[in-house]
Symmetry: C2
Subunit: 216 residues, 2 copies
C-alpha cells in the first residue's frame, strides 16, 4: 500500500506542477505578477493584503481568496472595491494549481498588475504545492512565537519574502528576535524579513517598495 | 487517477482507524485517559499543557510531542520532569495512529493517568485523523481572531473541549466574543469553551476540573 501511495502522490505533484507552469506562462503574457500569500490561521493574511493594496493606488490589483469554507475575506476585499474571487476547498488543506486554473475562469485579468492569492491558513501543506506564482510571501506574527522557523521549516525555507506581523503586540509577548532571525537565516539566508503591524500600518512602505522592485 | 486517489485515501483512513481502536483499547486496559491536543501554530499548545499538568500534582501525566522537526517542546517538558516522547513527522502535517503506535514503544505507561498528545500545529489536517484518543482538546487564541470557527469548521466541530487562550492579550486585539461563540455553537452546540491565559494561569482551574470529571 505504501508504494501505491507514493506513486499516486508523485502523479499528483507532477500534474500540479505542469498546470502551475501553464498558469505562470499565462500570467507572463498578461503582465501579471502573482504572489502566493501563506501563513497560519490568524497570522493576518487578509489584513496584510489590505495594507499592501492600499499602498498601490496606481497598480491594478486582483485577489484570489482561498478558504476551506466561508467567504468572509472575499466580502472584506470586495467591500474595498478590490476585484476578488473565492476558492472554497471544502476541506482541502492547501490550494493547488487546478483550483487556481478554475478560479481564473471567474476573474478576467484584463490589465497588467499584481494578483495576490491568499492560501489556506496552514503553515505546513501550502508550501508543498506550486500554484503558478512568481513569489511566495510568508506571513508570521509575533504572537505565534519566535520558534516557528524551527518547527515549520519548509514554509520559511521556500519564502521569497517574510513578513513578521503584529509588531504592535510585541510589548505584550515574549518574542526573541535573535532566535527567530537565526532560525530564518539557517533555512533561507538572504531572504528579506519585514516587521509590520497590519493594525497601525507600520512597516508597510518598505514591503511595497520591495514588491514593486521585485516585479520589475 | 482521481478514483485511484480516493481508494488509497480510504485504505489509509480505514487502517488508521483500526490501529486507533487498538491503541484506545490498550489505554483502557492500562487506565490511561488520552487527550489529543490540537491547535494552529502558536496557539499555545505547549504552554497550555504546562499549566494543566502543574495543576494535576496527584495524577501521573505523560506527553507525546508531535512536531514536523525539532524537539524544542519535548525539551521544555522534560526540563519540568514530565515523561515525554517525541514524534518527528519529517514533513507530515498531522499525527496518525501508526505514528502513535510507534511512539508508545518508547514510553512505558506504567501507572494509570493522563496522556497528552500534542498534535502538529495545524487547524486543518489533524482533525481528520483519529489517533486513539478519548477526547480532542482544541486550543484557539484571541490573537488568531474570532472568525476561526467559520474558516476551519472541522476542528471546532470535532472538539470535545475548546480552550480560548491568550485572554491577557484581549485588551489589545479586536476579538468579537459573540461572533466567535455563535460560530462555535453553530458547529458544536454544547461544547464547553474555557477562556484562559497560559501566561498568567487565569482560567485553568476550571479546565482541570472539567478534565478530571470527564475521565472518571
Amino acid at each position: 500500500m505504501e508504494t501505491k501511495k507514493v506513486e499516486v502522490i508523485q502523479d499528483i505533484h507532477a500534474e500540479n506542477e505542469r498546470i502551475a507552469r501553464e498558469i505562470n506562462a499565462d500570467y507572463n503574457r498578461k503582465g501579471i505578477f502573482a504572489v502566493n500569500v501563506m501563513g497560519c490561521p490568524g497570522a493576518g493574511k487578509t489584513s496584510v493584503l489590505k495594507q499592501i493594496i492600499a499602498r498601490l493606488p496606481g497598480v491594478k490589483t486582483y485577489v484570489i481568496e482561498g478558504d476551506i469554507e466561508s467567504d468572509l475575506d472575499t466580502r472584506t476585499m470586495q467591500a474595498l472595491g478590490i476585484e476578488t474571487v473565492q476558492i472554497n476547498t471544502g476541506g482541502a488543506c492547501h490550494l493547488d494549481s487546478p483550483m487556481i486554473a478554475g478560479a481564473l475562469k471567474n476573474i478576467e485579468l484584463k490589465e497588467p498588475g499584481i494578483l495576490f492569492i491568499e492560501n489556506i491558513g496552514n503553515l505546513v501543506c501550502p508550501a508543498e504545492f506550486e500554484i503558478g506564482e512568481h513569489i511566495k510571501l510568508l506571513i508570521s506574527s509575533v504572537t505565534e512565537g519566535c520558534d516557528k522557523p524551527y518547527k515549520y521549516p519548509l514554509a520559511f525555507e521556500k519564502a521569497d519574502i517574510i513578513i513578521l506581523n503584529k509588531s504592535d503586540l510585541k510589548p505584550y509577548v515574549d518574542f526573541d528576535d535573535a532566535f527567530f532571525s537565526s532560525g530564518v537565516k539557517g533555512l533561507n539566508p538572504g531572504v528579506p524579513v519585514f516587521e509590520v503591524s497590519s493594525k497601525t500600518g507600520q512597516g508597510f512602505d518598505a514591503v511595497v517598495n520591495w514588491l514593486e522592485e521585485k516585479r520589475k
